[in-house]
């Protein structure tokens, strides 16, 4: 039994509880803030998955960027602290059904994956602090950004350029959307 268990399961609980708060809290400010907690927890899970670079990007882009955007967007809502807009009953019932069905389906898939033994375990114990590996073959941790960059510039170059162009288009389009129409 590794000590990382005592970090892992609380992290899982934190992600799920704060995601539930983000999804269901009446108060949108609380919802947005707990979304940030949940996103940071997912970044922690990426650390457990040896995806350190993705974890860092998750913190920068999601917690640093998208969350700030959403907090900015919360200002546009009427139900700030205090006043509450309740979902109507149709939406509640539909939400209950949809949530239940999705939970059962997704949980079933995870359960099948677990039972079939299609969840190979790692041979090396996973710890948060690793010594530097000899090569890429030894670990994907330390050298990962180098290899990810090499892959991005070779095999994944076309999608990379498409995403870059898309981001440019999105920036211009967002500016066009918020522009005053009279101008």
């Amino acid at each position: 039994m590794s000590p990382s268990l005592f970090l892992f399961w609380p992290l899982v609980a934190l992600v799920l509880v704060s995601a539930a708060t983000a999804a269901l809290a009446r108060n949108l400010v609380y919802a947005a803030l707990s979304l940030g907690v949940s996103l940071a927890g997912v970044a922690g899970l990426y650390l457990f998955l040896q995806a350190e670079y993705v974890a860092v990007i998750q913190m920068i882009v999601y917690v640093g960027g998208i969350l700030v955007l959403i907090l900015f967007g919360v200002m546009f809502s009427r139900d700030l602290l205090g006043k509450k807009v309740r979902p109507n009953w149709g939406a509640r019932i539909l939400g209950g059904i949809v949530g239940l069905v999705t939970a059962i389906a997704c949980g079933r898939v995870a359960w099948i994956a677990a039972e079939r033994g299609t969840m190979p375990t790692t041979s090396a114990p996973l710890t948060l602090v690793r010594s530097a590996p000899e090569s890429w073959a030894g670990s994907i941790a330390t050298d990962a950004p180098i290899h990810l960059g090499t892959l991005l510039m070779n095999a994944w170059l076309a999608p990379f350029l498409v995403i870059a162009m898309l981001l440019t288009v999105v920036l211009v389009a967002a500016l066009g959307l918020v522009r005053k129409e009279s101008a």
Partner: protein, 111 residues
């Protein structure tokens, strides 16, 4: 069950469960919320669940799969950023026209 708990971060199933939970909660938020920003929070939760699933599957399928899944995750995070920017611009446009972002009230296309 004990095996499941003890294997913890070194098996695939917990990550799949977290991903499933995030997706479910996000979908629930999208159905229940009447506020556009709450809806956006739901979309972000669903995206996160999906990306977590991808990285988790890649992690347990060898190094090549790990690297590819991480690049996929980076692309998806970039797309999520683009989507959030456009969505917030739309929310702002709707707010300017309707003085509210309640999705039940926003029905006309030209104000």
């Amino acid at each position: 069950m004990i095996d499941f708990l003890l294997s913890g971060p070194e098996s695939l199933a917990p990550y799949l469960l977290v991903g499933a939970g995030l997706f479910t909660l996000g979908l629930l938020a999208c159905v229940v919320r009447r506020n556009a920003v709450g809806y956006l929070i739901g979309i972000e939760l669903m995206l996160n669940g999906g990306i977590l699933n991808a990285v988790a599957y890649g992690r347990f399928r060898g190094l090549q799969a790990a690297a590819d899944s991480q690049i996929l995750a980076l692309f998806a995070i970039g797309l999520a950023a683009a989507e959030a920017a456009i969505a917030l611009a739309l929310v702002y446009a709707v707010f300017r026209n309707f003085r509210d972002v309640d999705l039940d009230l926003v029905r006309t296309l030209r104000s």
